[in-house]
């Protein structure tokens, strides 16, 4: 019996168990935390599949169950990202829709979605997405939809999808500088620091910060930006001068 044959309710119980274990430092769930409808059917299903074991009113994940649960959480949170960043589904609907969506994401497809989304580290609610093989390999798709600024190529353009910032001052400053979700950006250079066009200004960030800014890719190599050339132009040396038009 594979994990994919589990019922929706059983998957939800697995997911709650995993969250309890990984994110709240409890190692089991009390059966009373589960709703009556969940407990009956789903518990039997889980214990039959060898994914969870119950004793003295508490439910614990088995090793196999832990693996299955991690994969469920990963798919669920990737689905949330997909809905929020690419399909622009409103915040209220994301969680509910993602649950349904998750069941459709079969194993293997989640890595492709993950690559498409630029290997996101957190779901729209800020909870971590368990990394998959693709994240460790740093896989890059031929065409990504969402990408960390650090993975973009020069002159690639897009709009900021979200910023994953653990440091508040940095987040505040970036937001205040106008790097808000929805702001159009274009990467100008990658080395030695990342520089991107933001509105009429330019912002430089280091690699670590560039990894935290996720961009929904909209276009590549727009014609407006000429390639950077070293050849001196006939125009001569003309600065944008500090003192200019007389009124």
């Amino acid at each position: 019996m594979t994990e994919f044959d589990l019922s929706e309710t059983a998957e939800e119980v697995l997911a709650s168990l995993w969250v309890a274990e990984e994110e709240s430092d409890e190692h089991s769930l009390s059966l009373e935390d589960l709703s009556p409808s969940e407990s009956e059917e789903a518990l039997r299903e889980l214990s039959d599949a060898g994914l969870a074991s119950g004793s003295s009113g508490r439910l614990t994940l088995t090793e196999a169950g832990r693996k299955a649960a991690r994969s469920i959480i990963r798919r669920e949170r990737l689905a949330e990202r997909l809905l929020a960043d690419v399909l622009n589904v409103g915040d209220a609907v994301v969680t509910e829709a993602a649950c349904k969506f998750e069941h459709l994401l079969r194993k293997g497809i989640d890595d492709e979605i993950c690559t498409l989304l630029g290997h996101p580290k957190v779901c729209p609610h800020g909870n971590p997405i368990p990394p998959g093989e693709c994240c460790r390999e740093g896989a890059r798709a031929a065409r990504t939809v969402v990408s960390a600024l650090a993975d973009m190529s020069p002159r690639q353009a897009g709009v900021i999808a979200y910023i994953h910032a653990r440091r508040r001052p940095m987040l505040q400053r970036l937001l205040a500088m106008g790097a808000v979700p929805g702001a159009p950006v274009m990467l100008l250079q990658r080395f030695p620091s990342f520089v991107f066009q933001l509105g009429q200004g330019q912002v430089a960030v280091d690699r670590e910060t560039a990894r935290d800014i996720y961009v929904r890719i909209t276009g590549k190599r727009p014609a407006a930006q000429p390639p950077l050339s070293f050849s001196p132009r006939a125009r001569g040396f003309r600065f944008r001068r500090g003192r200019r038009d007389r009124s």
Partner: protein
């Protein structure tokens, strides 16, 4: 270290004091104006034009950490003008933004002029909204309107004024465009509050209203702005609120937690989004032309080249060659110092003063205080005026040119990766480069750095491995005839800088700061600003460092008189011998603490006397460059970092200097290097 009398004279000279004391001034209406806005939008230029006094104007985020105050007179209105540090938001994310915010809270201004970069209007308006939410009397100045026009943008200030319900003007302060309109606005600011509101999502809007109601019951500051800061969990605002009645604090905490449940914390996101949407909408209405997506032109091209990893290095070399070598090295250290020192002082002032003092003072001991070997005039003043001021002045001029052109932020992004290795971020380029001018001032400027760890590492490196321009001038002069020696000296300094920085970053706990910086466009430096900055820094130098410098002459005089010097020289003799130097060099080290360049200059004297050359000369130069910071720098270290840290840094630097000297001597002798 401020000298009250000097400050008074300085204020009189710069017109800061005459308004208060001049009896002829007619009674006037007093108003207080605060200039607010992000870095690089010309706030300080406006300040200079309004007040006519000088302030450090900066093209680099954060250099105006100290608030400049000046006075202006427009008609019969007397304006007190405050120039706040660059700030993007009322929710501070750095020390300078905190200063700007506190200023707005504490100073109770009659008018807040929000100065913005017109071409970036959509990114600038969110702060205008926050100022309105803070119920401040705000007006908006679309500055650098000429750059916006060149980018193909046309703005309608009246439309914006209608939408915002506050006065809006358009200016190009650097060229004086629109300044009449600004003066008219400042002399007669409107007093009607605006009814403008940003549309926030309902949960946030309701939370803000509930918090404001709670605040109104318990506090005298109950604005929407405070509510928003609380929602964003701003530390400073929460601290202030925690002093209110417990039930108010609990109530606010409950509202904030509830709202956070609605969203995914932090709430900064939905708030920033709502503001940005409103800003985009208003800017869209005020803009009557679509911009070109990326500004073009040679300045832009050069700006891109200066950030390019390959092209950036030749540009850096060119800046160092033309700026440091030609301007500071050849022109200032060569031509100007030669003229002032050799011609003016040696030729006229010293002989004349000596003759004069010897005639009026019959006691030889007192004569030596003024005109002896270490006399106040013949040594102290001569060094200050003829050697140090030209060098430091030339360096400050260069620095101001680089700052105003927008080159420094580009240098910061070029060097960020390298600096990360020594525990600093690209931001630290500013204090480190400034250190080549004056390490004392640079130690003060480490305030712009984000974390305590970064400030400490920068302070340490400035004390150890960055020679100031006075010292640099003497060393370059001395070693210019020994190219091999100069190479060894330079190599050792770079190595010590990198290795000690690397060690410090490994030994000090904590993470390296992130680097994120807005890169302003390359602009042709305005001579007015460059002059104002150079003059402001020189004035600071004259007031803060020169007195210490003169004091050092007196200390030396007393030391000589009481034979304390011989004792001290004898005390450090063993250390001097360890690095293979003759007795005569001991005095140089002692002087080096009083003034960094004194030390090098004494080595010069010892060299001239033929007592030192070749390997010992290079070893002496390296050791004395690394050797303890001068008194002025040490005092600033104490003030900025605390006594214990300052003493620890000095002790480590001392040990480091002599160890490096010892090993360098050993290596050079073993390899039988001929210099």
């Amino acid at each position: 270290m401020g000298v009250p009398a000097l400050e008074f004279v300085r204020d009189l000279l710069t017109g800061r004091r005459h308004c208060e004391t001049c009896p002829l001034a007619a009674p006037a209406i007093e108003r207080k104006l605060i200039l607010v806005g992000p870095p690089n939008v010309g706030k300080s230029v406006i300040f200079n034009i309004l007040t006519g006094s000088y302030v450090v104007v900066s093209n680099y985020p954060g250099t105006t950490v100290e608030v400049a105050r000046g006075r202006a007179r427009i008609g019969d209105v007397l304006l007190q003008v405050l120039d706040s540090p660059g700030a993007y938001s009322l929710a501070p994310s750095s020390e300078d933004e905190r200063v700007a915010r506190d200023l707005l809270v504490e100073e109770r201004p009659d008018l807040v002029l929000h100065v913005v970069d017109a071409k970036n209007l959509p990114r600038m308006l969110p702060l205008t909204f926050q100022l309105i939410e803070a119920e401040l009397p705000v007006a908006l100045d679309l500055n650098i309107i000429d750059e916006a026009a060149r980018a193909g943008l046309s703005l309608d200030p009246e439309q914006l004024a209608d939408d915002l319900g506050i006065p809006v003007i358009a200016t190009a302060a650097a060229t004086g465009v629109g300044m009449d309109r600004m003066r008219a606005l400042l002399s007669d600011p409107p007093s009607q509050p605006t009814s403008f509101q940003v549309d926030y999502p309902p949960p946030i809007e309701s939370a803000v209203q509930r918090i404001v109601l709670l605040l109104r019951e318990h506090s005298d500051v109950a604005t929407k702005a405070v509510a928003f800061l609380l929602l964003q969990r701003d530390d400073g605002t929460w601290q202030r609120v925690s002093r209110l009645a417990p039930e108010a604090v609990a109530g606010i905490e409950r509202i904030v937690a509830e709202t956070e449940d609605h969203y995914n914390p932090p709430l900064s996101f939905p708030i920033a989004l709502a503001r940005q949407r409103a800003a985009d909408r208003l800017a869209g209405r005020a803009l009557s032309a679509r911009p070109r997506s990326v500004p073009q032109g040679v300045g832009e091209r050069l700006g891109r080249l200066a950030m390019h990893p390959l092209a950036g290095i030749p540009i850096l070399v060119a800046v160092a060659y033309f700026g440091l070598y030609l301007l500071v090295g050849r022109l200032a250290a060569g031509v100007v110092v030669d003229f002032l020192d050799q011609r003016l002082f040696e030729g006229y002032i010293n002989p004349w003063c000596s003759a004069f003092v010897e005639r009026i003072l019959p006691w030889p001991t007192w004569v030596s205080l003024f005109v002896g070997e270490y006399g106040l005039i013949t040594l102290g003043l001569r060094y200050a005026v003829a050697i140090v001021l030209p060098l430091v002045g030339a360096f400050f001029l260069l620095f101001a040119l680089l700052e105003d052109s927008g080159y420094l932020p580009r240098l910061a992004l070029l060097l960020d990766r390298l600096f990360k290795q020594i525990g600093l971020s690209g931001r630290a380029v500013i204090p480190i480069i400034l250190g080549f001018g004056c390490d004392t001032m640079a130690t003060l400027v480490t305030r712009v750095l984000e974390s305590r760890r970064e400030r400490l590492i920068a302070t340490f490196l400035l004390a150890l491995a960055i020679p100031c321009s006075a010292q640099l001038g003497v060393i370059l002069g001395l070693l210019s005839s020994h190219p091999a020696g100069l190479m060894i000296w330079g190599g050792v300094m770079v190595a010590v800088f990198l290795i000690s920085g690397f060690l410090a970053s490994r030994l000090l706990p904590g993470e390296t700061s992130r680097f994120y910086l807005e890169i302003p466009p390359m602009r042709w430096p305005s001579l007015r600003n460059v002059g104002a900055k150079t003059f402001a820094r020189l004035r600071w130098y004259a007031a803060e460092v020169i007195p210490v410098f003169l004091l050092a002459s007196v200390v030396i005089w007393i030391g000589q008189l009481a034979h304390l010097f011989q004792l001290a020289v004898a005390a450090i003799r063993p250390a001097v011998h360890i690095v293979g130097l003759p007795d005569a060099a001991g005095e140089a080290f002692l002087f080096g603490f009083l003034r960094r360049d004194y030390g090098a200059a004494r080595v010069f004297d010892v060299h001239s006397a033929g007592a030192i050359s070749g390997v010992p000369l290079v070893v002496a130069m390296v050791t004395i460059t690394l050797f303890v910071p001068c008194i002025a720098q040490f005092l600033v270290m104490v003030r900025e970092r605390g006594v214990r840290t300052a003493l620890a840094v000095a002790a480590i630097v001392l040990a480091f200097a002599f160890s490096v000297g010892y090993f360098l001597n050993l290596v050079l002798i073993t390899l039988q290097v001929q210099i």
